[in-house]
Every structure is written in structure tokens, then in C-alpha cells.
Symmetry: C2
Subunit: 223 residues, 2 copies
DNA sequence: GTCTATACGCAGATAGAC
DNA sequence: GTCTATCTGCGTATAGAC
């Protein structure tokens, strides 16, 4: 714990060069942990995926726990930092909804296991989740979340004042939007299984939702 | 595998009597598996929770895998059999939506870990999920799902013909509804952590949603 | 920095007494 | 049916050569 020794790096001379060992291990760990979860992941699988020996994992990250925490922290940062990014300062409610849905679906379909991984880890150890996201400086998820809520609430209130929509708490609107966008990813396994989908059908399903969801949401908000 | 020997039971004489050992083990297993997931669960924890020795778990269920499969199968059956139950044969779209939302939230808040557990297991091993739900006879989830879709589509089409709503695929409507209802449970850990909620606040949040969601959904469906 | 070999502990599973 | 004691294997972690 107290030991966080820094190793000398091979001088980041070539920013475009092939990823170094530590990066390859991290990428492999991301892959395996997001697929199997922390408890189900095996260090040997990560080593094989990275093309190195298992001992190297401990050389770079000391323990499975520390490696897992690192991956989890990175993943949480990625997932939550996406939200504020799609909300430009002077957007209308319609623009916010369309931007949110589109960006999120397109971002997540590139790493479709991420939402389920985060949800699973947060479920199995809520305290660890809270503790780890607390260490994320700069883009603190909790602060970012509050910021998103205030932004939405301001736009909602303006719309209500203009008689264009009914009053609504931003908490529920945002959770509704996130739920409809994220659910097909978080419950991907269930959906594919119950629906009898293959990969291609799942992708088409996502395409449909990317177009359908903004309609559905904006319609729900009309006065 | 081939060995599924039946043991003689202490004669189910007293249906109201204290649960027998097998039931207590099963209840404990449900508790531990839904909290920690199959990979994270420990047989010792289940034994302690059930107040018996670890060897008894193997006596009754032979292996962790078989016990886990049993718990998973029961949980999936519970979760999915709830859907058709809340959809009476001659209900209107409004009744279906209201009934669905209300029943689901009230059912799930009694076993709030169930949705996240199912989603997590299905995510980590989709093939196992498909295989296990395939063994569920009678209330086969896949058949039940198709049935729900047809029911919704029929009512939607009627509403569209009457000029009361715009055309929409039942797949997306049902996924939207399930998403908004289930998401606070599946992503419970994330939500509580990011939102900074305690248990009581989470319960109030659910209460609000139980009232808010039908409004939101029915509004979204208007022409 | 990277490898092979190995130590070590934990958790699942079995044997066998009662 | 239920227990205690024990075996076994797997997965993490370390030692130490190169």
C-alpha cells in the first residue's frame, strides 16, 4: 500500500511507437476484467492476452487487486466523463437529448462490455466503487453528475416557463434517458438471450434505437 | 452429471413447519449468489448463512456449479415470470403500462439485487444463460418474451389505427419500459454512489418513479 | 525488464465417523 | 442427515536466474 515505487520509463521518445509492456498489460487487463469481472478474471488470462509472463503483471502492478482497481478507475472515468462532453454549454433541450443519445450509443457500441462491467462491480462492492471514484480528481463523477443535473434542470425550467413542457425533476429525466440508452448494453446478455438475437441483429437494434429514442423522449416531454 | 439421485424426504407433512435444511441452504445460496455473483460467492459463506456445515452443501447439491445453476435458474424464472403476470388479457395500453410499472417496481424492491445479479451472470456467460433458461419448462422466458411483444404490438396497432398514437415497434417500447423500470435496480450501486444517496433516499426515489414513469411513458406515446 | 520455477494459501470437494 | 478432518487443485504471489 505504502509502496508506490516509480520505475524509470524508456523515455517517452516515440509517442507513436508500439505500446510498451505496461500499456499492453493494461489493455489486456481491461479486456479480461470487463469481460469476466474482477472476481472471475484470471491473471494467467491477462498475461496470455498481453503476450507476457504472469510474473510481469506483478512486477508492474504488484497485485491483482491493484491492477483491478486501476482498470476499474479508468473505466469509470471513461464512462462518466462522456456525459458532460456531449452537453455543450448553450444547447437547447432537444439538442441535448439528441446529442446525448447519439454520442452515448456510438461511444458504447465500441466498448459494449463497459457499462455492464461498471454496473457489476458497483453492485458487488458499492463501497469500493464510491472509494475509487472519489480518487478520480478533475472529472469527479459525483460532481459531474450534479453538474449534468443542474444543466438539465435549468433547460427544463425554461421550457416549462415557456409553456412548452410539463414540470419534471431532472433526476428522473436523466435517469430515464441514461436507462434507455444504457440498458441494452448493461443487460446485453439478457437481451440477446431472451430476444434470440445474434450480433448483427443486436447492432441493427442499436441503430433503430439511436433514431427512435430521441423521438420517444422528446415526445414524452411535450406539454 | 448423470447422478441425480433422489433422497427420501422427511415427508412433507407440515407445510407450515420450519423450512428444512435443503430449503435453508437454497435461501442462503440465493442471498450470497445474488450479492456476490457466482464467481465471487464462497461456499463457506453460504454454509454459515444457512447455519450448516459446508459438507452439507455438497451432500444436497453436489457442487458449487450445480448450486449456482439452480439459484440462477430459479432467479431467472422469478424475474421473467413476473412480466406476463402483470398483463391481463383484455387490458388497454394505459392499463398495461401502469400495471407493468407498478408491479415491477414493487416486486423488485423486495429483492433489489435480483436484476443486477441476472444481468451480471448473463453478461459473464451468455451461453450459460441461454442454456439455463432453455431448461425452464412451462414459463420459458423466450416464449414469454415473444408473447409480451405480441400483446403490446396488438394494442399499439389498435391505438395507431384509432389515431391515438404514432406507429412504434413493440420491441422498443417494451425495452424502454423495462429499461426505465429496471435500470435503478441493475445500476443500483452506480446510482447510489454517483447520486450520493442513502437507503432511504433510494426508496423515495423509487416511490417517485412509480408515479412519474407511467406519466412519462404514456405521454411519449401520444400522437 | 523479462523469464522459469516454485512457494503458499484458499476454496471446493471427499472420506468417513456418528 | 450432519458433522469433523482432510485432500486436492487452482490461482496469486514471490524468488531468483538471465
Amino acid at each position: 500500500m505504502a509502496n508506490t515505487k516509480k520505475r524509470s520509463r524508456p523515455a517517452g521518445a516515440h509517442p507513436e511507437a508500439a505500446p510498451d509492456t505496461e500499456s499492453r498489460i493494461l489493455a489486456a487487463a481491461r479486456e479480461v476484467f470487463t469481460r469476466s469481472g474482477t472476481a472471475g478474471a484470471r491473471m494467467q488470462d491477462i498475461a496470455r492476452e498481453a503476450g507476457v509472463n504472469q510474473a510481469l503483471l506483478h512486477y508492474y502492478f504488484r497485485s491483482k487487486q491493484q491492477l483491478a482497481d486501476r482498470v476499474f478507475r479508468d473505466a469509470a472515468t471513461t464512462l462518466f466523463s462522456t456525459i458532460p462532453r456531449v452537453l455543450p454549454q448553450d444547447a437547447t433541450l432537444e439538442q441535448m437529448v439528441r446529442g446525448f443519445v447519439h454520442t452515448y450509443i456510438e461511444t458504447m457500441r465500441r466498448t459494449p462490455f463497459l457499462p455492464a462491467y461498471i454496473a457489476g462491480e458497483a453492485h458487488q462492492d458499492p463501497a469500493r466503487f464510491v472509494a475509487i471514484i472519489a480518487t478520480v480528481t478533475g472529472t469527479d463523477p459525483q460532481k459531474g453528475w450534479q453538474q449534468v443535473l443542474r444543466r438539465f434542470q435549468a433547460v427544463i425550467d425554461a421550457q416549462v416557463a415557456a409553456g412548452a413542457m410539463r414540470p419534471m425533476l431532472a433526476e428522473h429525466l436523466v435517469v430515464n434517458i441514461v436507462a434507455m440508452v444504457a440498458f441494452p448494453f448493461v443487460a446485453r446478455g439478457v437481451l440477446i438471450g431472451v430476444h434470440g438475437m445474434d450480433e448483427a441483429a443486436y447492432e441493427r437494434f442499436l441503430d433503430e434505437r439511436r433514431d427512435e429514442l430521441p423521438r420517444f423522449i422528446l415526445n414524452a416531454l411535450r406539454r
